[in-house]
Amino acid sequence: MSEFLLGATTMGFWVAGLFFLRFWFQTRDRLFAIFALAFWMMGVNRFVFLMLIQVDEANSMPLYVVRLLAFSLILAAILDKNRSKT
């Protein structure tokens, strides 16, 4: 069950990321490129959990660094959007 859920969420993040990528092509708004990247990273994060069954996910450095990066990217996108207002 947990593997199924991890697989499904990996797919979900991937697909959402694809949509954001498309929006970036359509609007050239940097925010979408950053969101696409962040969502893909979250997908990768889940995928890694899926692959490493025995690992203590919370306290494994590489695993939560990816999550940190993903959310930092989103934060950066928000700050960037507010910095360069004409």
Binding site: F23, T27, D29, L31, F32, I78, N82, K85, T86
Partner: protein, 132 residues
């Protein structure tokens, strides 16, 4: 909703470049005095609009190639469309606007919202008043 009386060119211009009534009024004001350079304060006093939104509108019009900006003791704007076809369109619009005011206003407010851009705009912390 009928947009009779307005040329396709003017309609296209409004849909693509004008996103608020306030912005249109500012453009037409500067258009009616093309030799003059304006500060945001002067425009806001002339049209009795809040200066903060006037500042935004002027910058927006400038980025669309309708006005030029020059830094002197303050930021000065002047009506100077970058392309001759823009100039012709704004001239027609200015001529027709007094008679077709309601039609133009309807066109501005019934524009389909760009949903994707609205998503990105939601992340702006300061409120962007777009129906001024």
């Amino acid at each position: 909703m009928t947009t009779q009386g307005l040329s396709e060119e003017i309609k296209k211009f409004i849909i693509e470049q004008i996103n608020s009534l306030e912005q249109l009024e500012i453009l037409l004001l500067l258009h009616s005095h093309p030799e003059r350079e304006w500060t945001a304060q002067e425009v806001s006093q002339e049209l009795r609009l809040s200066q903060t939104s006037v500042v935004d509108r002027l910058a927006d019009l400038q980025s669309r190639g309708l006005l030029t900006a020059r830094e002197d003791s303050a930021l000065l704007y002047q009506y100077q469309p970058q392309k001759p076809e823009l100039r012709a369109t704004v001239d027609s619009l200015a001529r027709l606007y007094p008679d077709y005011r309601v039609t133009v206003i309807n066109l501005i407010f019934s524009k389909p919202l760009d949903k994707i851009q609205t998503f990105a705009d939601a992340f702006k912390l300061r409120k962007d008043k777009d129906n001024g």
